[in-house]
């Protein structure tokens, strides 16, 4: 089953990338043309760069903030407040990304919630149509990613912290460790596995992002938020250029593996 539904299509993608094929008619061999295009067409390469910018928003920020949030929630006494905090943080994870995209599109619009808040606090000159702004569109899309990923990271890290032997914290405190050195000496090393899972999951989500961008900006304005996911979709279904899409997909998959691999190794070392 695995071979038929996962491995075979993957190999087929590799194969298609060396042809010129529209998905229905006869295919003609194209050599390395489709691969060359990835590096020579500025829009294709630029979309890959955007995907890495999104890694900052999908991975670095949520994992960083998640660590902070988790270590604060740990110190809260179990009760209504800490439960609410967990739920509020985790809710975005339950929403389909398409719904998140639509909701944020409203919030970002010129008279949407974000600008209303800015106006309310007297920051009128900072209001703008965020998703239509050349400078801020990509970070704005990124913030949606932070919002979605933060809950996942926090809850996972919280669970990890729960598994750390309380004796370690006690020992650290007896040795005179402050809040920060306790975090560095006990919490961080204890969370190694969870951190690896968090980073792996969010990096894949960032590099393979599609739904949020397609819904919120369709890659615009200009080419400002174009990502490989949207490019692949367009190449496949709009242009019926299956072979170019295959080449880009395989390239993207290789990139993901290349980025994930060292992180996985880091997780394995004891």
């Amino acid at each position: 089953m695995y071979a038929a539904f996962v491995l075979l299509p993957m190999l087929q993608s590799v194969q298609y990338s060396f042809y010129d094929w529209d998905g229905v008619g006869p295919a003609t061999p194209a050599g390395l043309e489709n691969w060359k295009a990835i590096f020579t067409q500025p829009e294709l390469l630029q979309s890959v760069v955007h995907a890495f910018v999104l890694v900052f928003f999908y991975t670095v920020l949520p994992v960083g903030l998640g660590l902070v949030a988790a270590s604060f929630i740990r110190e809260l006494k179990p009760g209504a407040f800490s439960t609410t905090a967990r739920i509020v943080l985790f809710v975005p994870q339950v929403l389909p990304l398409v719904a998140a995209g639509i909701a944020w599109t409203w919030m970002y619009s010129s008279d949407g919630l974000v600008n209303q808040v800015l106006r309310a606090v007297g920051l009128d000159r900072y209001t703008r149509a965020w998703l239509g702004d050349f400078t801020f569109a990509l970070p704005a899309v990124g913030v949606i990613g932070v919002w979605v990923m933060l809950g996942f990271c926090t809850v996972l890290l919280l669970a990890g912290i729960g598994k750390i032997d309380p004796a370690l914290y006690e020992a650290a405190r007896l040795d005179g460790a402050g809040r920060i050195s306790e975090f560095v000496a006990v919490t961080l090393p204890g969370l190694r596995r969870e951190l690896v899972v968090c980073t792996t999951f969010t990096i894949i989500a960032a590099l393979a992002s599609f739904d949020v961008v397609q819904i919120a900006t369709q890659g615009g304005p200009g080419y400002q938020t174009m990502v490989p996911g949207v490019q692949i979709y367009r190449l496949t279904f709009l242009q019926q250029h299956i072979s170019q899409a295959s080449a880009l997909s395989v390239f993207l998959a290789a990139l993901v593996l290349l980025v994930i691999w060292p992180i996985q190794r880091l997780g394995r070392q004891q």
Partner: protein, 452 residues
């Protein structure tokens, strides 16, 4: 450390993968290049007397009530025919149509969002024999130009006819009658310069001169109109749309049009957040009075009439020189007959019916907001006096008479709209590209799409 057996395992897996890849490479993907060319047996007109179920696959939304109504009218006339309307949303249909038509459960008529590779892969039949049998070849031919595709599967406007439709979309400029009065507009502008004066007056009066959806391509409408106005002729654009060899949009007229559009943006004639307004929000803002003018298509007319009956007018984009030709972008709501359709004759009879039957033509206007073309002497469907629908219908009749229907640049290639025209006009309006590089870039993307 890895053991020798582990390495052997890896080697074996790699060898297996390589062998599989080689095996796959030996047989090229694709095939079925002969799904079926034009029907070889002589076509017959009429629907016969056998019971037939005609299956239509159309796009969701406004298509469904329209084709359901047309199907009922057709069944009323031919009692042995049952019309079944199925639908998919536009994006899904675009993405699945080739597979659907190559499959086994094929509809008899399909709404063709884009011809793409459908003709090259022989998935649609040529309608020429039917056009001859039903006399469509005696009608104004500009209505059929956009669905003629040459043998190379690319160049349009020539070659066999592959689709025909109930009605046509067309674009022009809506205006709010009340706001237009406030800025002293007594008649539609006769030239681009006159239109710009009105825009300036609107701006001075503290009104938003133009409402437009720059997020998903609305700004391309005025752009194309300006190109045609400045050229004084639509031939270059039409050749480009139809991918005639050697066609180029990198012209003086395009540069001038892009310059004008950019100037409108800088002057504040377009909304400040133009690149964030989509086609749902633009008409809503226009209805609220946010915008004196709204360049868009006739599909908006029924909605505008519903909310603000009699409040909105419509005119065709003005020419550069007074008295010059007025062009409008049009796109037919096309239906094609799949090569594997079992009821091609009945499907063709339906196509003829929707274009010629008076009550069918009326439904096309009322329910679809689209203008039926058909024979030049066909009576024009009625629309309430002073309504936006009435204005679009009469504008269309004028164009049809003069053969001034021009395809929409967005349809030139499958991706020129999303990958080039939309982002490039956004860059243009944001002042991030020059009119010259705009024209050059659109042209080079076009050539890349066509593999030239």
């Amino acid at each position: 450390m890895r053991t020798l057996t582990q390495y052997r395992g890896i080697l074996r897996a790699a060898a297996g993968a390589a062998a599989a890849a080689l095996l796959l490479a030996a047989c090229a993907p694709g095939g079925n290049s002969e799904a079926g060319p034009a029907p070889s047996e002589p076509v017959s007109i009429g629907v016969g007397s056998e019971p037939v179920t005609l299956k239509l696959l159309v796009t969701s939304g406004v298509d469904v009530p329209l084709y359901t109504a047309l199907g009922k009218l057709f069944s009323a006339k031919y009692s042995n025919v049952t019309v079944k309307v199925e639908n998919q949303d536009y994006a899904t249909l675009t993405t699945t149509i080739a597979r659907t038509l190559a499959g086994n459960n094929v509809p008899d008529l399909v709404r063709v969002p884009q011809l793409g590779n459908l003709t090259k892969d022989h998935l649609l039949i040529s309608l020429d024999p039917y056009a001859k049998a039903y006399g469509w070849d005696k009608w104004p031919q500009s209505q059929f130009a956009s669905t003629r595709v040459a043998a190379d599967g690319r160049e349009r406007g020539t070659g066999p006819l592959y689709a025909a439709g109930a009605g046509f979309g067309l674009t022009g400029v809506y205006y709010s009658k009340a706001l237009a009065q406030r800025i002293g507009m007594t008649r539609p502008p006769a030239t681009v310069a006159e239109f710009e004066q009105l825009l300036a007056k609107a701006k001075d009066a503290g009104l938003q001169p133009i409402m437009i959806n720059g997020k998903d391509g609305g700004s391309v409408y005025p752009l194309q109109n300006l190109v045609m106005s400045y050229a004084g002729d639509a031939q270059a654009v039409q050749d480009w749309n139809y991918t005639k060899p050697g066609a180029s949009i990198d012209t003086e007229a395009t540069v001038k049009a892009a310059t004008t559009l950019q100037r409108w943006g800088e002057a504040g004639y377009l909304p400040a957040d133009v690149n964030d307004i989509d086609q749902t929000r633009a008409p809503a803002e226009f209805l609220k009075g946010n915008g004196v003018f709204f360049p868009s298509g006739n599909w908006q007319a029924p909605g505008l009439d519903k909310t603000g009956s009699g409040q909105f007018g419509f005119f065709l984009a003005p020419p550069d020189v007074a008295g010059g030709p007025s062009y409008a972008m049009t796109a037919a709501a096309n239906l094609g007959i799949p090569a594997r359709s079992p009821n091609a004759d009945v499907a063709a009879a339906f196509l003829d019916f929707v274009q010629t039957d008076q009550s069918a033509r009326q439904e096309t206007v009322t329910l679809g907001g689209l203008v039926p073309a058909g024979p030049s002497d066909a009576p024009v469907p009625a629309a309430p006096e002073g309504s936006a629908v009435a204005a679009t219908v009469s504008a269309f009749q004028e164009l049809l008479k003069n053969n001034e229907l021009v395809g929409f640049m967005a349809d030139a290639t499958a991706s020129i709209h999303v990958n080039s025209l939309v982002p490039q006009t956004q860059l243009l309006l944001a002042g991030k590209t020059t009119p010259e590089s705009f024209a050059a870039k659109v042209q080079s993307d076009y050539e890349r799409d066509l593999g030239r």
